[in-house]
Symmetry: C2
Subunit: 125 residues, 2 copies
């Protein structure tokens, strides 16, 4: 594996590959939803409007594989499964929150930029 820096991202860089995996919207949102404590499958689903069962399952598996969430099966009937953030996953919350708060704070500026852009495009068309 090649090494890589923040200035130059090699396709084979292991950090970059991990970056690709965690930097998707559902991963971030699931972590946010789990931040306050463990939740069961359908509880997570309820917290993430718009996610399908399939996408949730896939993303949870990915997070589990990367050691970011833990999957605990509780042997009741019917079985309950609860998902919990690991300590590793917890260390990821701070960076994610900063990003999320950025979007809330900068929304007005972004909206203005979009309007200006769309107007420019419209004029040149």
């Amino acid at each position: 594996m090649k090494e890589c820096s923040i200035e130059k991202f090699h396709a084979q860089c292991p950090s970059r590959e991990l970056f690709d995996q965690i930097a998707d919207k559902w991963s971030m949102m699931i972590l946010a939803v789990l931040a306050d404590g463990p939740l069961r499958f359908n509880a997570i689903k309820r917290g993430l409007e718009g996610i399908t069962q399939k996408a949730l399952t896939q993303t949870l598996r990915k997070l589990e594989r990367n050691g970011i969430v833990a999957r605990n099966v509780i042997a009741t009937s019917p079985v309950a499964v609860e998902y919990e953030i690991t300590p590793l996953g917890r260390s990821l919350i701070e960076p994610f929150k900063a990003l999320y708060y950025w979007t809330r704070e900068k929304m007005p500026e972004v909206e203005a930029a979009r309007e200006a852009f769309d107007k420019r495009m419209q004029e040149s068309a």
Copy 2:
């Protein structure tokens, strides 16, 4: 538009929609590459191994529309186009860097988790 909090992401929440747009790997990587100063199209491309011209164009347009990068056409022959981070975009670098450094720092833990997970899967199969 519905409001939403970090605990509950509504599908129509404007912050969430913005979040979806910026939280993709190429956006983050382009910003990192531009962090030290403006670069021209092909220079950015050289910094991002694996990106296609199409993906780069699309991502740059998206970033431009959201006010994160500025596109400056320099009227030479042939024309030169340089991309530059805006102040708004610059405010996004800190959160992104934190995320990137996380991947570098936690890589060993993640690798270990993956091996353990794959072993569990293999055993149950």
